[in-house]
């Protein structure tokens, strides 16, 4: 029998990371009045997930699962479709970035992949607004501020994720995982 691409153990791990994103989104409230500041923990979790399950599509699967959970829980200010697509975009964009640049454990790759993944979310929100005919940005400078904020918090999240992966490796977590395929 052809082995499955993701083992059951890996699927459970990815589902847990997805749930962690949604829980963190609900429970963690950073006192920062900046758009996209949740990218700090969001991208860290995605990056750790993609590092713990080092297969193409791992981040996408985290994105898809968290998107379904978030849409059903009614998260986000712009409706279920916006929530679903933006959560999914984070995963897809992160996967594409990691496919191009390499391992999320690399301290140069992770911030860039984090920024790209998080910017994927911004792109979806911005594109949906355009498609739905939303009015032009009230404050032009607000859009630039949003973009910079999304990129910075995404990059910081990616960096945190890489540091976490390095700590997990030092603690022998990957050796433990290798025994539990």
């Amino acid at each position: 029998m052809k082995p499955r691409y993701f083992s059951t153990f890996q699927l459970i791990l990815l589902a847990q990371f997805a749930a962690l994103i949604v829980v963190a989104k609900i429970a963690l409230r950073l006192p920062l009045q900046l758009p996209g500041h949740s990218g700090l923990f969001w991208m860290a979790i995605v990056m750790v997930g993609a590092g713990v399950v080092p297969k193409r599509g791992a981040a996408t699967l985290i994105g898809l699962t968290s998107a379904i959970l978030a849409a059903f829980l009614g998260l986000g200010d712009f409706g279920a479709l916006d929530t679903f697509l933006s959560y999914l975009a984070v995963g897809v964009a992160t996967d594409l970035a990691l496919w191009l640049m390499g391992s999320p454990e690399n301290l140069a790759v992770a911030p860039l992949a984090g920024a790209t993944g998080h910017f994927g979310k911004f792109l979806v929100k911005w594109a949906l607004a355009g498609i739905l005919g939303a009015p032009m940005g009230f404050v032009a400078l607000g859009l630039l501020k949003s973009i910079v904020s999304y990129l910075v918090f995404g990059a910081l999240g990616g960096f945190l994720g890489a540091l976490t992966l390095a700590a997990l490796r030092r603690a022998g977590f990957f050796a433990y995982l290798a025994e539990r395929k």
Binding site: I26, R29, P31, Q33, P35, G36, G74, L75, G76, D77, F78, A97, L100, M101, G102, N106, A108, V109, L112, A113, A115, T116, F119, F122, L123, K125, W126, A129, G130, L132, G133, A134, P135, M136, G137, F138, V139, A140, G142, L143, L144, S146, I147, Y150, L151
Partner: protein, 167 residues
Amino acid sequence: MKQKTRINIGLLVLVVLVGSVLGIEAWRRARAERQTVGEVVLTPGSVPIYLDGQLIAGFQPTDLEQLSKVSFVDAEQGKTQEGWLLRDVLLLHLQRKRLKADSLITVSSSSRNKSARVTWAQADEAANWVMFDLSGRGTLKLVSVLEGLKTRDQWVQDVDRIEITSK
């Protein structure tokens, strides 16, 4: 391909994407010419304010310099909503005497096909937090803690019209 090259390509893709978004937004802004209705000039992105069917002003980004920011934490998700009170926005363009306690203010979004209606008395009460929050994509969102206007489903995202009925 060397990893350094791959990282550079990744960085380049990101820069191109950001540049495209800013370019498209600038093009949209340039395309939407200033609209003059009577003596009222509406700049791209501004929100027209109508009083009894007549356009009296446009809520413009430059207005924000004259308004003070306020904030509250919403009960639904515990997020801080920060922005400008609808009351202050209206008083910037209208004299208080033109608004009666029972004047109806309708804030709507044509793209979302949504609207919310409050009386001037409700909007004038600061504790109701009837205000505009600036969304991440730069559009205005009407939020409040008023009954019937305190959840995300009831808020009006992407606001593009304010209408006051005083008669």
